[in-house]
C-alpha cells in the first residue's frame, strides 16, 4: 500500500499537480508579499481573487478573448487594491478588519454578479496547455514542467521577477524601507503613501490574476466562492515564506505538493480516514516551520498606519 506511493507515476503526478495547485497561491501570495513588505496586511485577498476570477471569466466568455479576461481581472483586482489603499493609507483604518470587510464584499459581489450576469455555471475555453517544444518531450520532466498553461509558467517567472524588483530596484528599496521604518523613509523624501498605494494596488492586481488563473486557465469555470478560502492560505504562506518571494515559492510548493500527495494517498487506497488525508498539508506546513526554526521578523511597520506629525 504505502510502497505504492513510491513509483514514478505517483511522483510525476504529485509534482505536476503540485505545480498547478501552487499557481494561484503564487500570484496571490507574491502580491501580498509586496503589500506586507510595505507595511500593509491585506486579509481581503480571497475577495479580490473572487472578483478577479469572475471578471476574467465573464469577459473571456463574452468577448471570447482570454487576454482581455486577464486584463479585466487586473483592473478589478487593482480597483479593489485602490479602495483598500485609500481606506488603510488615507483613512488609517485597522488593516485587519478592513481586509475582512473587503473579503466579504468580494465574496458577495462576485456571487451577485455571477447570478445576475450569468445565472448558471458555465464553462469557457481557458488557456490551453502550452507544450514547450523539445522540453515537453523529456520523459517525466516534460510532463511535470513543460506541459502547463501559460499562466502557470508566468506564475513561476513572477517569483524571480518579484525578487528582482524587491532587491534590485529603487522601488523595491523604497518598499522595504517603508515597511520597516516609514518615518525614516519619509524623512528622506520617500512618499510613504505613494509606495503603499503602489504595493497594495499591485497586490490587488496579482490577486485578480490569481483568481483569473483559476477561472480561465486551471478550472475554466466560475462558481460562487470558488476559491473556498484559498486567499487566506495565501496570506499564511507569506508568513511561511518570511516575506521573501523565494520563501513564498517554497511554501506554496510544499503546501500544494502535500495536497497532491494526500490525493494520491486516497487514490492508492491507503487506510487512513479521508479527513486526515485532507488535513495533511495544513499540519505539515506548521510542522515544517516548527522544525525549521526560522526567525525572520515581520516588517516592523506591518499593520501600523503612518501619519506624519504636524
Amino acid at each position: 500500500m504505502i510502497e505504492d506511493l513510491f513509483s514514478t507515476t505517483v511522483l510525476v503526478g504529485i509534482l505536476a499537480s503540485g505545480i498547478r495547485l501552487a499557481t494561484p497561491y503564487l500570484y496571490a501570495a507574491i502580491g501580498e508579499t509586496f503589500g506586507q513588505r510595505s507595511g500593509v496586511l491585506n486579509l481581503g485577498v480571497d475577495g479580490q481573487m473572487l472578483l478577479g476570477a469572475f471578471a476574467a471569466f465573464y469577459v473571456a466568455l463574452t468577448y471570447q478573448n482570454l487576454w482581455l479576461g486577464i486584463l479585466a481581472a487586473i483592473i478589478v483586482g487593482g480597483l479593489m487594491g485602490l479602495a483598500m489603499a485609500y481606506v488603510t493609507v488615507n483613512l488609517q483604518a485597522q488593516q485587519g478588519i478592513s481586509g475582512i470587510g473587503f473579503y466579504l464584499f468580494g465574496l458577495g459581489m462576485s456571487d451577485l454578479l455571477f447570478q445576475k450576469l450569468l445565472g448558471t455555471v458555465e464553462t469557457v475555453r481557458g488557456f490551453p496547455s502550452l507544450y514547450i517544444p523539445f522540453l515537453s518531450d523529456i520523459p517525466f520532466l516534460g510532463d511535470i514542467f513543460f506541459r502547463q498553461n501559460i499562466l502557470v509558467y508566468l506564475a513561476y517567472l513572477l517569483v524571480p521577477l518579484a525578487w528582482f524588483v524587491m532587491n534590485k530596484t529603487t522601488l523595491g528599496l523604497k518598499i522595504r524601507a517603508v515597511g520597516e521604518n516609514p518615518e525614516a523613509a519619509d524623512s528622506l523624501g520617500v512618499s510613504v503613501a505613494r509606495v503603499r498605494y503602489f504595493s497594495i494596488i499591485l497586490g490587488g492586481m496579482l490577486s485578480g490574476v490569481a483568481g483569473a488563473s483559476m477561472s480561465i486557465a486551471l478550472l475554466n469555470v466560475f462558481q460562487q466562492n470558488m476559491t473556498s478560502g484559498l486567499g487566506f492560505i495565501a496570506v499564511a504562506l507569506v508568513y511561511f515564506g518570511g516575506w521573501r518571494p523565494g520563501g513564498v515559492l517554497l511554501g506554496a510548493l510544499l503546501f500544494s505538493m502535500v495536497n497532491a500527495l494526500q490525493l494520491w494517498i486516497q487514490v492508492k487506497g491507503i487506510q487512513i480516514p479521508s479527513d486526515f488525508a485532507v488535513m495533511m498539508p495544513y499540519v505539515l506546513t506548521i510542522l515544517v516551520l516548527v522544525l525549521a526554526v526560522q526567525r525572520v521578523r515581520p516588517p516592523s511597520a506591518l499593520t501600523k498606519p503612518f501619519e506624519r506629525e504636524s
Partner: protein
C-alpha cells in the same frame, strides 16, 4: 550617482539661512514664540535650552517637517517655502534627528541610496553609492562599512551613517539635533574633527547639545531658547559654562555636585569571571570580575560597545550567562529571572529607558508598578489595588517632581526628561540594595542632570551599592568612589577616584594597560 540637483535661488550654495519670527503652537503648548535664528556658511551655531524649550521643533520647521504658524525662512536672503523634507533636501539642508532615522534591516549603502534617483534608472546603483560613501568617509574621517547592516552597527557608527546620508545629499547646512548625546568622548573628538572639516569647506552647521563644554568647544555663536522664546544670542567666545547655564535655566547651576565621604559596607554585588554573548552572537563579556560595596558608587567607564550593555543586562537577569557567577549579597543569583532579582532589591535604570524600562501606552501609575505589580500592597490575590497604587504614584510624582498632567496620563505624553524621572522614581523608591544605573543623565538638560546626580548621591548615603555605567568621563569622575574601566568585554583595571586621572582612564578605555595599583 550624481549629486542631487538643487534649486537654491540665486547662488548655488547656502551662504545664509535666516528664520524670522517663527511661531509654532501645539494645542496647549507654545513651542516656539517669535523666534529669530540664523546661520552662515562656515560657522557652527549652537542652540541651547532645557528639555522642552523648543529646539527640536524649531529645527523640524526648518527641515520642512512642521509648518510654522507664523514667520518666514530666507535662504541667501531670498524667501523660501519649505513644505517637506524633500524641499529641504533640495535646498541643501540636511538634518540628523535626535532619534536616528535609519532602516535597521537595510545596509548602510541602501540607507544612503534610499529616495535618491539612481544613475541606472529604475535599478539601484548601490556599487556607485558605496564607492562614493567610501570617498566621503575618506574626506571627513567617517569610517563605516558600506555593506554592513544598520542593526549590526554601534550607535557611534550609526551617527556617522546619518552624517554621510546628509553629506551625500549635498547638504550645505547640517542640522545636528543632540548628535553627541550617544557618543563617547573619543567619538565626540572624532566627530568634532569632522565638523571642523566641514566648516572649513564652507558648510553651515546648527548644533544642539545639553553639554555646555561641547558648545564652548565647537561653536562660534550660541542661541538660547527658554519656554519657546529666544532669550539670548551671542558669540561663544567669551562665554563660560556658568553664563550659558544661567541663560538657560535662569538660575545658578552647580555643574558638578558635592559629595560627602563614602561609608563603605559589605560586598553587595559580585561578578566572578562572567562571560556572555553580545546581540550579534560574538563574545560580549570575556570573564568579567567586579565587586560593588554597600554605600559606594562604582563607576564603569568605557567606550560604548565594549560590553557595558551586556554587563548591566547580565546583572539584571536580562541576558543569559555562558559561564561565571553573579552574587547578590553573597547569594548566587546566576541565571535568575528579572522578577526574582527584583524581589532581592535590585534596581536597574537601563540605557534605553524609553524602550526598555517604560511602557509608553501605560499610564504613569501603571509604569510605577512595572516591577512590583504582583506584590502587596499593590496587588492582592491577583487583583490590582488602584487606590493604593494611585496614592503611591501621587507621592512619587510629588517627591520626584515629575511634570505630568496627572497620574493617569500615558507615559508617551510626557517629555523625555520626565519619563526619565518616572523610571528613576520607580527604581529608587523601591529602596534598592543594589542599583545599576546606565547613562542615567543621557539626553537630560543640566537642571535635570543636576537633580539626578543629587539623587544618586543621596542613595549612596543610604548604603545602596551603585554601579554607575557612563560614557561621560566627567560624570564618572564627579560621582564615583572607585572607577572600573571596561574594554572589549574585559575589565582593564579598577582605580580609586583619588588616584584616577582623565588621561590614565582614557588610555585604559583605549585598551592600553599600564601597571596599576588595584583598589
Amino acid at each position: 550617482m550624481a549629486q542631487v540637483e538643487k534649486r537654491v535661488p540665486g547662488t548655488e550654495r547656502i551662504q545664509t539661512v535666516e528664520m524670522r519670527g517663527i511661531t509654532k503652537r501645539f494645542p496647549g503648548v507654545l513651542a516656539n514664540d517669535k523666534v529669530d535664528f540664523d546661520v552662515r556658511a562656515g560657522e557652527v551655531h549652537a542652540l541651547l535650552g532645557e528639555n522642552g524649550a523648543g529646539k527640536s521643533t524649531l529645527m523640524k520647521i526648518l527641515y520642512g517637517m512642521y509648518a510654522p504658524d507664523e514667520g518666514e525662512i530666507l535662504i541667501n536672503d531670498t524667501h523660501v517655502e519649505i513644505h517637506s523634507p524633500t524641499d529641504a533636501i533640495q535646498y541643501g539642508i540636511g538634518m540628523i534627528h535626535q532619534h536616528f532615522m535609519l532602516v535597521e534591516t537595510l545596509t548602510v549603502t541602501e540607507n544612503v541610496a534610499l529616495g535618491l534617483p539612481s544613475s541606472r534608472g529604475l535599478l539601484t546603483d548601490l556599487d556607485a553609492v558605496s564607492k562614493r560613501i567610501r570617498e566621503l568617509a575618506q574626506v571627513y574621517g567617517l569610517q563605516v562599512d558600506p555593506n554592513a547592516y544598520i542593526w549590526q552597527l554601534a550607535v557611534g557608527q550609526r551617527q556617522r551613517v546619518e552624517i554621510i546620508k546628509a553629506l551625500y545629499r549635498g547638504a550645505d547646512l547640517l542640522i545636528l539635533d543632540e548628535p553627541t548625546a550617544v557618543l563617547t568622548p573619543q567619538e565626540v573628538d572624532e566627530f568634532f574633527a569632522t565638523i571642523r572639516q566641514m566648516v572649513a569647506e564652507g558648510h553651515a552647521i546648527i548644533f544642539i547639545s545639553h553639554k555646555l563644554h561641547e558648545v564652548l568647544a565647537i561653536s562660534q555663536r550660541v542661541t538660547v531658547l527658554r519656554d519657546g522664546k529666544r532669550v539670548a544670542s551671542r558669540e561663544t567666545a567669551g562665554c563660560t559654562k556658568a553664563d550659558l547655564a544661567r541663560m538657560m535655566v535662569g538660575r545658578e547651576i552647580r555643574v558638578m555636585p558635592e559629595k560627602p565621604p563614602a561609608q563603605v559596607g559589605d560586598v553587595m554585588l559580585e561578578l566572578r569571571q562572567v562571560q556572555a554573548q553580545s546581540d550579534l552572537g560574538t563574545a560580549g563579556l570575556k570573564g568579567v570580575s567586579l565587586q560593588v560595596y554597600a554605600g559606594e558608587i562604582l563607576g564603569l567607564a568605557g567606550v560604548s560597545g565594549n560590553g557595558q550593555r551586556e554587563l548591566a543586562q547580565v546583572v539584571c537577569g536580562l541576558r543569559p550567562i555562558t559561564s561565571g557567577r553573579v552574587l547578590l549579597k553573597n547569594e548566587d543569583v546566576t541565571g535568575m529571572l528579572p522578577g526574582e532579582l527584583t524581589k532581592r532589591m535590585l534596581a536597574y535604570i537601563p540605557e534605553e529607558r524609553m524602550k526598555d524600562a517604560m511602557i509608553q501606552q501605560f499610564t504613569v501609575c501603571e509604569n510605577i508598578i512595572l516591577r512590583d505589580h504582583n506584590k502587596p500592597p499593590y496587588a492582592q490575590r491577583g487583583f490590582l489595588r488602584h487606590n493604593i497604587i494611585g496614592e503611591y504614584t501621587d507621592k512619587l510624582i510629588q517627591y520626584f517632581k515629575v511634570k505630568t498632567p496627572s497620574r493617569d496620563t500615558q507615559a508617551r505624553h510626557l517629555s523625555g526628561g520626565n519619563i526619565q524621572k518616572v523610571v528613576l522614581a520607580r527604581e529608587l523608591s523601591r529602596q534598592p540594595r543594589v542599583l545599576v544605573a546606565a547613562q542615567p543623565t543621557r539626553g537630560l538638560d543640566i537642571g535635570a542632570t543636576e537633580y539626578v546626580h543629587n539623587r544618586l548621591i543621596e542613595e549612596r548615603q543610604k548604603g545602596t551599592a551603585i554601579l554607575l555605567i557612563s560614557e561621560d568621563l566627567d560624570e564618572i569622575l564627579a560621582l564615583s568612589d572607585r572607577i572600573a574601566v571596561i574594554y572589549e568585554g574585559k575589565i582593564m583595571g579598577v582605580v580609586n577616584r583619588q588616584e584616577a586621572t582623565a588621561e590614565q582612564l582614557g588610555l585604559l578605555m583605549a585598551g592600553v594597560k599600564e601597571e596599576l595599583t588595584p583598589a
